[in-house]
Subunit: 252 residues, 2 copies
Amino acid sequence: MELDAVEGIPEIRPGDDLASLVAERTDLADGDVLTVASTVVSKAESRVADLADFPAGPRAEEIATRLSERTDEEKDPRFAQAVLEESTDLVMEEPFLLTETRFGHVCVNAGIDRSNVPDNDLLLLPKRPGESARRIREALPEDVAVIVTDTCGRPFRYGQRGVAIGWDGIPASRDWRGEEDRDGHELAVTVQSVVDELAAAANLVTGEGAGGTPAVVVRDWDFGDHAGSENLFRDLESDFVRQALREWQWEP
Amino acid sequence: MELDAVEGIPEIRPGDDLASLVAERTDLADGDVLTVASTVVSKAESRVADLADFPAGPRAEEIATRLSERTDEEKDPRFAQAVLEESTDLVMEEPFLLTETRFGHVCVNAGIDRSNVPDNDLLLLPKRPGESARRIREALPEDVAVIVTDTCGRPFRYGQRGVAIGWDGIPASRDWRGEEDRDGHELAVTVQSVVDELAAAANLVTGEGAGGTPAVVVRDWDFGDHAGSENLFRDLESDFVRQALREWQWEP
């Protein structure tokens, strides 16, 4: 397996054709996987906004006031409003907003980015990253799978890692159920989240910051002869952590 | 960046020299990263056991009885005993045992594997995987970083992915603090867990099961000119999920 960052992609503007910008700068082949950072997908899809676009309603005012008091850090109620509008559920309200986005991704502040935008205050996540991935994929002449990536933190372990938030042309996971290990025992690990592992791998070569490259091509890797699943985002019933967080009350 | 599975590694036996077994089968160069699956590290370190080695004490009997009743699945109290002996904390007791191992890794059933062992009932995780990584690294003539990997599930997202449980010759994470994005804003993402991302990437090429290869060489990848951190496993204070799970009560 080989991963190559696509070099020389310019600053992305609304309406830019990401598929062409990538295809002009690297040789793609059938079976490759292309990862694209959500930041550039959002810019191409005009998912920028200003705080002034989000006049705070009563719920946002209440959240911002409470968070400001309890964390001793001034919170902007307009930012809370933006987070609420970009979320379908609040998983946790203190000491920060952990949210479910409209497409099922659980992340802090609905993934709204306050850096990475030159002329606006906010960069929102793509509206439906699965559709973004499909559009990019369909605009490429080669048969390439596309993954829209984000980075986020997680419980139990420090640090952020790359994750998939949208994908097309590849199942979310690879199912080893029914297969056996070297000794003939049935495998304990049955569902491998390949799109997340590809996103994590790509994040090693994209870099962050001024020298960062938002697209990576994965070559010579094969999904193999396995069943696949489209499910990546857990539902509440299977997610004990989310159930626990609903009932939990942070004490500063 | 290139990832190559090391082919032809035989079934590992107690006392086997993993460094030689890898070095004989691939060309390593200074700066490469070698990932090794915890299963083979455990086998080389004789971390196999039988259920009979773990006569259940009262706590294990209580856990197994309660879990059997509540989940409607027969649980072996000797297995609960093994999990307790391999753990320093129970993060969650129902509907399954979520544990902290002696080296800080949070995982189900202390990572004890009931497949993957030909002549015993149980395969335990390496006792101190950081030391295992160091021993393998020191036995290699080249200057190669070593990561001992495991696979596990996670909240919010379905499926398992590769994670690091021990490492040597590379910091756990890469710190981008103080660096700026293309537009001169300070970066929002500051700590990138590179050992986990390398473990996830490696898991894409190891495969599971009979055709699985337990070692992967990462070539042409560079940690770069960044500060690093050795911390990977969160402490309780920074881990809201763990705090919430302590108070939570599963209702079947």
